[in-house]
């Protein structure tokens, strides 16, 4: 199994480790999943997300290339600003979802999913023109600090004042540290990119603050689920289009207008009775006919009820539709709910 540069640090913290996308990753630490989740919502949590891929494309025509590889427009995106989008294949299916940061007119940094790295890199390279240069930052780590106290921790521990950096904005220093104000939790927070050799020192420095606790992948998943964010390979994949995935907002007008109208849509589902429904649980209409299955699901520590995502035919895909979710042969009443399930508190949203 592959390891991140923080592998030893996780072991030292007594993390419960498990495989994710070919990496031996921390699933949870001493606090446990539930308390880690709550800690991020109230304080600041530290995540090792170094398994994700960091790549750069630059050179004349890069913006045009990205507008071919994704359904988005990067024309109006400001320099040192980030946009969430998807890579799509020739059939319009989603190859991966990613963060794209514009660092110059034809200079872009991408953060791609660990499990998609190889295919994304091959896909991008196969579309490169003679004028574009591609770099994979294989020896750079990525550390996320998420939670309402993140900005104060960055200031007090690292001496970095990020108060003027907007949501989806980038701050960097001497090309040895790149800090983006974004994340996968719905909280204010940052993703910090540093060379591998600096990762452990940064990790330990941030952890030395009482407001910061290490958070594993299990809580990362329950946090993102409360926000209704997609997990690639579960909620989106090559068989789903951006419109089906309810990601029409990342599409530019011309792409959207030419895309086929979806017959199913990704929706949020909440159980209205006790129980926990997880990925794979069947979604039934009130007549008991199967209309879909959960692509993710679990207990929301914030709402204290089971939440999930599923693709359902568009005639059901509106808020309030009543359904059943089958959990081990038991039908639990459920309804379609608006996502995010929990109000985001990213910078500027509160």
């Amino acid at each position: 199994m592959k390891q991140t540069p923080l592998h030893t640090a996780h072991k030292n913290l007594n993390a419960k480790m498990g495989e994710f996308a070919g990496y031996d990753m921390p699933l949870y630490y001493d606090l446990g999943v539930l308390k880690e989740h709550e800690w991020v919502r109230e304080n600041a949590g530290l995540f090792d997300v170094s398994h994700m891929g960091q790549v750069m494309i630059k050179g004349a025509g890069t913006r045009a290339l990205l507008e071919k590889l994704t359904p988005s427009s990067f024309e109006k995106l400001g320099v040192n600003r980030t946009k969430y989008t998807v890579l799509t294949n020739d059939e319009g299916g989603i190859i991966d979802d990613l963060m794209v940061t514009k660092t110059g007119e034809d200079d872009f940094h991408l953060v791609i999913n660990a499990g998609c790295k190889d295919k994304d890199i091959a896909w991008i390279k196969s579309h490169l023109g003679a004028e574009q240069e591609f770099t994979y930052f294989e020896d750079w780590a990525l550390i996320a600090l998420q939670g309402p106290k993140s900005e104060a921790v960055m200031r007090d521990v690292l001496g970095i004042d990020l108060s003027d950096v907007p949501y989806m904005g980038l701050w960097f220093k001497d090309y040895t540290m790149f800090v983006s104000r974004l994340g996968y939790t719905g909280e204010d927070g940052f993703e910090i990119s540093v060379p591998n050799e600096n990762a452990e020192e940064l990790w330990n420095k941030l952890l030395s603050d009482d407001r910061v606790k290490p958070i594993g992948l299990a809580a990362r998943d329950s946090l993102r689920l409360e926000m209704g964010y997609c997990l690639y390979g579960h909620d989106i994949d090559a068989t789903t289009s951006p419109l089906e995935a309810d990601l029409g907002w990342v599409m530019r007008k011309d792409v959207k207008e030419n895309a086929p109208q979806p017959t199913r849509k990704r929706v949020g589902i909440v159980l209205t009775d006790k129980g926990v429904a997880r990925e794979g649980s069947e979604v039934l209409n009130m007549d008991g006919q199967k209309i879909g299955a959960l692509t993710s699901g679990g207990f929301s520590p914030t709402l204290k009820q089971s939440i999930g995502q599923a693709y359902v035919p568009i005639e059901y895909a509106f808020e309030g539709t009543e359904l059943w979710v089958d959990v081990r042969g038991r039908r639990i009443p459920a309804r379609i709910a608006k996502m995010p399930f929990v109000k985001p508190k990213t910078k500027g949203s509160v």
């Binding site: 446990g32 539930l34 299990a218 809580a219 926990v276 081990r328 038991r330």
Partner: protein, 123 residues
């Protein structure tokens, strides 16, 4: 009657002649983490040895609870539905009571010393 243990981390204790009380061990609870839901059996349901009769769910996973003996459910600890911490109690943390048909089934289970030894092999 002493407490016996299964390889699936249930504990079982005979109460009287033919009623057995079943719960899950500290090890199982620790491995699961904070519980968020428990699915209990119905009184009157019968289960064969090794069948799952309850489900405990934590944020990270759902785990089936198996009965170490064959029997009919005669009592269910409904208090657990609203108080998962109760599971930790040695006296009140039981999940269900079974009227068992074959007390010999208990002989195949581990005593406390054997279970402690077993835990060392699974860790």
């Amino acid at each position: 009657m002493t407490v016996k243990f299964s390889k699936d981390h249930e504990w079982i204790k005979l109460e009287g002649r033919d009623v057995a009380v079943v719960g899950i061990t500290d090890y199982a609870q620790h491995a699961l983490g904070d519980l968020v839901f428990i699915e209990l059996p119905k009184v009157g349901a019968t289960y064969n040895k090794g069948a799952h009769f309850a489900v405990v769910e934590s944020v990270k996973t759902a785990a089936e609870v198996y009965t170490p003996v064959t029997g009919e459910v005669v009592a269910v600890n409904n208090v657990l539905e609203n108080d998962f911490d109760l599971l930790k109690s040695d006296t009140e943390g039981w999940i269900a009571k079974f009227r068992i048909t074959n007390t010999d089934e208990l002989n195949g289970l581990m005593d406390e010393a054997a279970y402690k030894g077993y835990l060392k092999t699974v860790e």
